[in-house]
Every structure is written in C-alpha cells, then in structure tokens.
Assembly symmetry: C2
Homo-oligomer: 553 residues x 2
C-alpha cells in the first residue's frame, strides 16, 4: 500500500458537510484516529445558520453571529477554504481552484462525501443574475442591508416622485420560508429606520411579496400559512399570489399573474431573489446516477455503483422507501434537520465501512417546521402541535438558539436580542460593495438606459438586443448586437448628449469610467477601435447631431 | 432677495464636520431655526470613531460599533451621503457626484464650512496604492480583518516554508498612534486566533513595525513611548526604527534604514499603511490661501479674503497666535479633541455672523494623549499626568467610551468588551472583497509575476517597465511598456507555459479571466488585436516554445 492512511474528503461547508466531519471525528474509534485523515472543502471558513440570516438584514443580531467558524467545530479535520474546480470519481481526486497563489491543488480520497447543497438558478428569469440580490450567504445579507439603507439615503434627498417610488418599493420573489422571513425583517428594519430620515414617511414604503403558488409558506399547514399571510398584510406587506417574476432590471421587477398574458412592471431598485434553487453546477458534470436532478444514493447514503462515494444534504436524493423505482417517493426533504441526521448516519456508515462493520439505514420523519414573521410573531408546527403568534416566536427563538453550533454563538445571539430590544437599529451604510468595473446589465423593452444630460459613468457594448438613440424625443438611430454606445461622454468628459432606450430586451457588457480609461490606454486594439467609432460619429452625417452612435463592425 | 433662507453647507463627515452641524443646530436661536437650512455632505452616512478602529480589526468590538450614524446625531440637518465633485467658491456652489442615478447635484450656500480632513498620500511609495491596506475607514478595518484570517487559512495548508513565512509576516508602516494601535491589535488577534489552526504555531508569526523616526509614538513623551516600545517587543512585535518603507508589492515590503543604501525586501502579503497623509485632493484645486498645504484661516476660523467660508479640522491651518506671519507657529494640532472645539467655535461664529454679532477667537491647548497597546495595556498623558500599563488602559477605555457620540454606541461597546472578555475571538472570513476585474499591480525588479505551471487567472498589460519571459530558467524574451503577456493561458485554458519576472520596477494593468472573456467577445478591436498577438506567438520562431510573448505595437 502506498500509505497506511485512509483519506476521507468531505465537500461542502453547510450543515450536511460540516456535521458529517463532526460526527466522523466522534464515530471513529480511538485506535483508528491516526489512520484516518478527514478533510473538509468549503468555500467559506464558517457555517451559515440560515434561519438567523434575515435577522442580520434587520440588524437585530450582529453580522457575524449568524455564522460559526468551522475550525472551532471540527478540530481534527483539515479545512480547505477553497472553491472546487472539479471532482474526478474515476481517479478519486478533487481539484481545487487557487487560493492567494495562482496554483491549483489536488486532494486524493478513499472515501468521498458530497454535501454541496444547491445554488440559485438564475437561468430562468432574464436579468435576475445581474440585478437581483440573492439571499443565501452571509455576504448577501450584508449587501442587502447596505442596499436598503442606501435606498433611504437616496430617497431622503430625492424630489422626483417617480424616482422616490422606485427607491422606496421593495420586492421579494418567492413566498417560501426564506422569502417570508426576509420580507418580514426588511419591513421591520425600514419602518423603524425611517424615523431618522426627515423626508420619508411610513406611507412612502411599499413591500411586495411575489409568490407563484396559491398561498405563501407552501411548506406549512394551510391555517398557519393563512395566519402568516394576515400578519404580513397587517404590517404593510402586499402579497401577490399566483404571480411569477418574469424579468428584473436595475429599476424594475416584471411580473405576470398566472392566468394573464399581461406583464406588469413594478418600479423598484430592490429585488431579492429567494427562488428557485437548482443543482450545484459541479454536479451537472459528475458522472453518476441522478434522480430529480439530485445525486441518487441508496438508503445507506452510498452513491449507486460508485464505491466509497457518499452524498448527503440537499444535493442528494435519499429515498424514503426501499422500493427505489417508486416514482412517487418525494425523497428526504431538503431541510437542516434532515441534513444533520443524514450527516450522522453517513459518518457512522463511513466509520463502519472502514472497520468492515454493517451499515445503517437512514430514516427520519422530521420534527416540525418554524417560520419567523418579524417582531414578536412566528408560526410553528412542531410534533403535530400548531402554534402561532408570540408563543411561536418565543419557541422559534428558543429552538434556533439551542440549535446554533457553538456555545459562544448562543451567548452572542442572546446578548444581541437583549440589546435589540433596548436600542435603536443601526442605519450605517457600509460602502464596501463597489460594483465590479466590467459587468453585465439587462434592460427590458422601453426602458431608458440613460437620459440626455446624465453623467457619463460607463460605456455599453451590446451583447444581445437593440437600442434606440434619442435626441429631444426623436429616435435618430438604432443600434444592434456587437455595437457600442456611451463612449463619447467619457471620451469628451461631458454629459450624455443623447438618451438611449432599449428597443427590445437588451443585454450589455458595461465598462466603468476608470476601467475604460485603463483599457483605452493599455489594451491593444481598443484605442484604435474606439477612436474610429468616435470619429465616425462626430464627423458622420447623422452623428453631428447624435454624438452617440454605432460601431461599424 | 431670491429666498428668505440662509443656507449653511458643511463638507466632511468627520468629527469637524459633524460636530459643526451638531453645535450649529444648538447655537441658532429658536427664532432663526426656520430661516437657516443646514446641509452636511459626507461620503459615508456614519462618523467613524477612529480610536476604536483597531479594536474592530481584532474583533474585540463589533464591526458597526466603532461608528455612529450621522442622522441620529444631527436631526435638523439635511445629509447628502455623496462624494464631492468640486467646490466653486466664486459661484458659491458645491457639485456632487451622482448617487444611484447618473445625475450630478448642485447645492448653493451662503455659508460654507470645509472640514474635509486629509487623505492617505500614496504618491511617495511605489506600489502602496495597489498593494497596501489603508487604515482610515470602517471598510478598511473589515478588509484588514478578513485579510488576516485569510492568511491563516492559506498558511494552514501551505507546505512550502517560504510561502508560509510570506503569509505569516505582517508589516505595519508608521509608528504613530494609528500604526502602534493597529499592530498591537493585529498581534492580539492572530496570537489568539491560531489556536484554531492546527498547523500554525506562535513562533511562525512575525510582526514588523516600520518607523522612519528615532522612536515610536513621536506624539507622546519619550518615557511613555519607551514603555510602549518595550510592551510591544515583549509581546512579539519587531520594531525597526529609522527605517522607511520604499516600495510595496503583492508579496513583499521593501524598506531601507536611514543611513543605509541597502534595500531590504521583507516577504509578506500584509502591509498596512498608516502614513503619510496629505491634503484632500479637492483642496489642491481650491482657489484660496494655503499654509503648509492646509487651508489658511484666521483665529475666527474664516478663510482669508473669502467671506462666508470657514474651515475646521485637519484640513485647516489654524494659527495659535495673532501674528499670522509667525513661521514657527505649528498651528492647532490635527486631533479629534481639537476638531471638536473648532467645530463649536465655528458653529457659534456662523450663528453670530447670521445675527450680526461679534465672533469668538479659537483657542485650545489640548487635554492630553492616549494610546492603546492591546490587551490590558496603554500609555496616557492627561493634563500633565503620565500613566502607563493597566491603569492607562482603563483610563483609555473610560475616556473613549465617554467620548463616543450616541448613548446606544456606548452601551454596545461596553457589552462588546464584556463578551470579548468571556468568549473567543471570531475567525470568520467574509469573502466580500472581490478584487475588481481591472486593476493596477506593481512589481519590483527580480520579482516573479507568475511561474511556469501556475493557473492562468489574468492578463497583463505593461504600463511601465520591462518583463522577462523565462522557460526552464532561461530568459527567452524581454517585453516593454505597451506590450501584453499572460493571454495565452486564458486563451487556451491551460497552465502558464512560461514564467514572467520583472526586469525593472514594473507597473501593469491586469484584467481578470472573466472580464477578459467579456472584453474579447464584445469590445471592438480587442479580439482582433489579441488573436494577432496569440497567433504571432504560437507561430513565430521564438514563440513555439514561448507560448507567451509580445505585442507588436
């Protein structure tokens, strides 16, 4: 044998992955501890306690208290806080993307546990990737919180009523637990924060929850969902059922009711996307059996026909019956309480198989469900008992604090709640999320990209769609895929001399002023191409008046 | 008259600006409140309490507790959280950069207060702008904290001893209050955090403080500075006096001792720059009298020969005697306690001049100085009494908490200190600081830009300097200003086939993989130019083996 050690590699830093490592540290008999090396690969060096994420947005708990450092939970495990490049089941190796040095790393395994969870699937709604704020990671919560405060800052000095409405309308897409808890906390934060803004009143705020189904909280019993619906409505959240978000731009959410062919544009600068999730992109390439897009495993959590490979958590389809061909089997549901127990079974089964012992079968019915509705209200259905209102809220807090990994976190969260009850919420805006200098943007038909007289802050390269150039209300030209606009205001350092409007759904790559100056000066080909465009526009027949125009490809 | 109102506009969200607004709200008689509009322009919507910033780095207080939202402090003032484009003293207008809409804003004033402070002056040290972490704003503290945790994450899995040393060496440039407090807290954080890292021991950590003067804390009495020096040394900080930082790269700090012409390269990935500060860039263009680079004012804080314009805080030179031609006058020192009192005098003088009353003369001798040295130690010199050690540390905390603006912040900070004493420090790394996709990078002569076999993560465009292309230890080509390298690994999606080393000090614009793909696909001129380069390199005589090469300009 090349090495006396057995290597167990666990992929994913969510509950499934981290708890598998934790339970495995305990499940191995002392005599084997030196012979088994456990490694965990996680994008972040902390585990996110998702149920508390909405409270980070509202500021009722501090930023870092909804997470727990993985190293403090699994002290005998080697942690790689890296992203995974690929998984090679034939070679039994994992390739990791570089860290601070531009060198990839390779890890070999004897046993592999895949616990990669799911990812937001942006592909179905145009503009969602570019313009909505996701709600999964801690960074998302911080970004959303800063964005919300920023809208208040802008709205306080905005005099145009349309712009004010756009700034003070907040849309959450998805009426499941995550969407409901998110809009509830946003509502709480903003209604309390505006007391510090002289020009914003409560009536100015609009909160809209879009839900494609017939009711919110489809995971919950109908009466509890009804209770939640009424509470949210009473607190000022508008709920639109049977309504799907169809597109997102920087200044609007487009939605369509189920039986309608009319699309409605909701003017807003804040769209939070909580649906839908799809499989992790690494799984698409993975050469193994799948079921409903998830990795097919047996009830011992082993991949089918792949020895030494296991899967746990939301990325795995874990049958609840022994009849694997039962099409009606919904599989073990994708919740944290199930992931925890799968982790335990998986750890025990790996320990057993290393010792040549018999494997256990995973089976867990679930204990119940909890959803917070913001200040002092929640819905809960635990072991068959349904509770709503203040009592459920106390239950919610008690259960989740007891479940938080790490004693220090429990204490910190309890102190946060104490202070939140005494002190006003924070309204500081941390401007640390500088937009990248080269990004994609999406515009819907009829939307203005910029207006005459605007400040020239970037250049646009059309990836797909058409754009109209408008001066004093008159369309003077139409640009297409592959063409460029907006470069003259930067080139000549003056305000926009024409407006640009999307004539179709329009996707652009945009480059910021500073980056554009760097590209012009240093990237071969750019200066020549752009100066040709500018010259033709300023000299050309149309462009003397246009001062904006087309690339002749 | 165009308007019955008088407009007072205050520029700057530091102590000088915010407290001027606060005192002005109080100084105006009730009868005048409706007739005077106070506006404050600040980049951030919060005021940073600088002395607590190092404790944010170490995590002994929570991120948001070293700041206070401006709106809660000045309730009758209109706050613009924007950046200033320019100040027009002739037209009596201020132009603001756009917020979320690409439209600039203009504010007119009758009275203007300039309290813009200073900015880090990057111009004197090559590479400092690109590769050092500044230490002024709250975002800086968060970025530094995350960076420190990241070095531990990387070092824990690093086996190469040189790379480990680079990762675990931490350099702070500047031995004044800010530098000393910063390195003390970094030292505290990391020596406690490594307990969670299995492969890092205390001996692996190196902390270096570079100070160009003969001793640290030049602001303090010599014996107190000596005490601080010994405490830091005993706690594992190496202090290099009479040593100046001469350049910074991504992997090293270059330094030179005063009487030496030898430059020493300290391998490190962490350089914190706390010196030097220069005047705010807006002041350079300002048409007014200056003194020692600061705005010259009289002892009533009025600009000379500019009616209705006032200056306070670090950006102003405020004489301490009535003999304005006294060259030896050092001016009122740039500290928070002075800024506070200048703000009060300025507010009272504006109120007086609006009422046609007599102006006051500013005069303040200072109360004392305090410097924290990390856990349970500090130096203080207050009203002539010198204290050091634990007592000074208690004094430090007591004085600064009492000075914090806002009762809620005082309570939050006290709770933080309580919990910090009970619970372990946080080691979560928030990966929210994605580097921009188009940036500048600086390399020193002899430094490797990348190595053969490295992962191709970006493309390099030489702005200034020369780069050598090396294959198997042999220099096969030298590139110059205007040329490109690193594009083939991205173009062909394979590891680097050659190494590149700086043959002179080398400045590049670099473009990340994702941005480069966007530029290639959509920006006119780029695809043609790059494909010409790639083709000539792959086909050319040298380039078959080079696979990396030069732009023929």
């Amino acid at each position: 044998m090349a090495s006396p050690q057995k290597r167990v590699v666990i992929l994913g830093g969510g509950f499934a992955g981290v708890y598998t490592a934790m339970y495995l540290e305990r499940a191995l008999p002392k005599s084997m501890r030196d012979q088994v090396e456990i490694s965990l690969v996680s994008r972040e060096n902390y585990i996110v306690f998702q149920p508390l994420l909405p409270e980070v947005v509202s500021g009722s708990i501090e930023l870092l208290h909804a997470i727990s450092p993985i190293r403090r939970l699994v002290r005998q495990t080697r942690l790689y806080s890296r992203e995974i490049q690929n998984i090679d089941l034939d070679e039994k190796t994992i390739h990791l993307f570089p860290g601070c040095r531009p060198q990839t790393a390779t890890i070999r395994y004897d046993h592999l546990v895949i616990g990669l969870g799911t990812q937001l699937d942006y592909s179905r709604v145009p503009g969602m990737r570019e313009h909505s704020i996701p709600f999964r990671y801690l960074g998302d919560a911080l970004r959303l919180r800063n964005h919300l405060v920023n809208t208040l800052e802008e709205a306080d000095n905005e005099t145009d009523p349309e712009n004010r409405r756009e700034l003070l309308t907040f849309v959450v897409a998805g009426g499941g637990f995550s969407g409901v808890e998110c809009i509830a906390e946003m509502n709480d934060l903003l209604r309390s924060a505006i007391k510090a803004y002289r020009n914003i009143q409560e009536d100015d705020l609009t909160f809209i929850l879009l839900q494609s189904g017939d009711r919110i909280l489809p995971e919950m019993e109908e009466d509890l969902a009804g209770f939640a619906h009424r509470i949210l409505q009473n607190r000022g959240v508008e709920i639109r059922l049977r309504t799907r978000m169809t597109a997102v731009t920087a200044t609007s959410a487009l939605s369509r009711a189920k039986d309608s062919d009319q699309t409605e544009a909701i003017p807003t600068r804040t769209v939070v996307a909580t649906v839908p999730s799809g499989p992790h992109p690494l799984l698409a390439e993975l050469d193994c059996e799948k079921r409903r897009g998830r990795i097919a495993v047996d009830r011992q959590l082993r991949l089918l026909h792949r020895e030494g490979v296991w899967a746990v958590g939301d990325c795995a389809f874990i049958p609840t019956t022994d009849r694997y061909d039962d099409e009606s089997d919904p599989g073990s549901p994708p919740t944290a309480q199930h992931a925890l127990r799968q982790a335990k079974t998986c750890a025990q089964n790996i320990a057993a198989s290393l010792q040549g012992k018999e494997l256990k079968t995973f089976s867990f019915a679930g204990l119940g469900k909890l959803g917070s509705l913001g200040r002092m209200s929640a819905v809960a259905s635990v072991m068959g008992v349904k509770v709503s209102g203040v009592l459920a809220w106390i239950l919610w807090r008690a259960i989740y604090v007891s479940k938080m990994p790490g004693l220090d976190r429990k204490i910190r969260v309890l102190f946060d709640w104490l202070l939140d009850w005494m002190l006003p919420r924070d309204i500081a805006e941390l401007r640390i999320f500088q937009p990248d200098s080269v990004i994609r943007e999406h515009f819907e038909r009829g939307q203005f990209v910029f207006d005459q007289g605007d400040f020239g802050d970037k250049v646009y390269f059309i990836v797909d769609g058409k754009a109209e150039i408008i001066i004093d209300g008159k369309v003077i030209d139409t640009l297409e895929t592959g063409q460029t606009f907006g470069e003259i205001a930067l080139y000549q350092d003056q305000p926009r001399r024409a407006a640009v409007r999307a004539a179709t759904p329009l996707d652009c790559v945009t480059v910021s002023r500073a980056a554009f100056e760097n590209l012009l000066a240093h990237v071969p080909g750019v200066a020549d191409a752009i100066s040709t465009i500018v010259k033709s526009r300023l000299d050309g027949p149309k462009s003397a008046e246009a001062a904006i125009g087309t690339t002749e490809p």
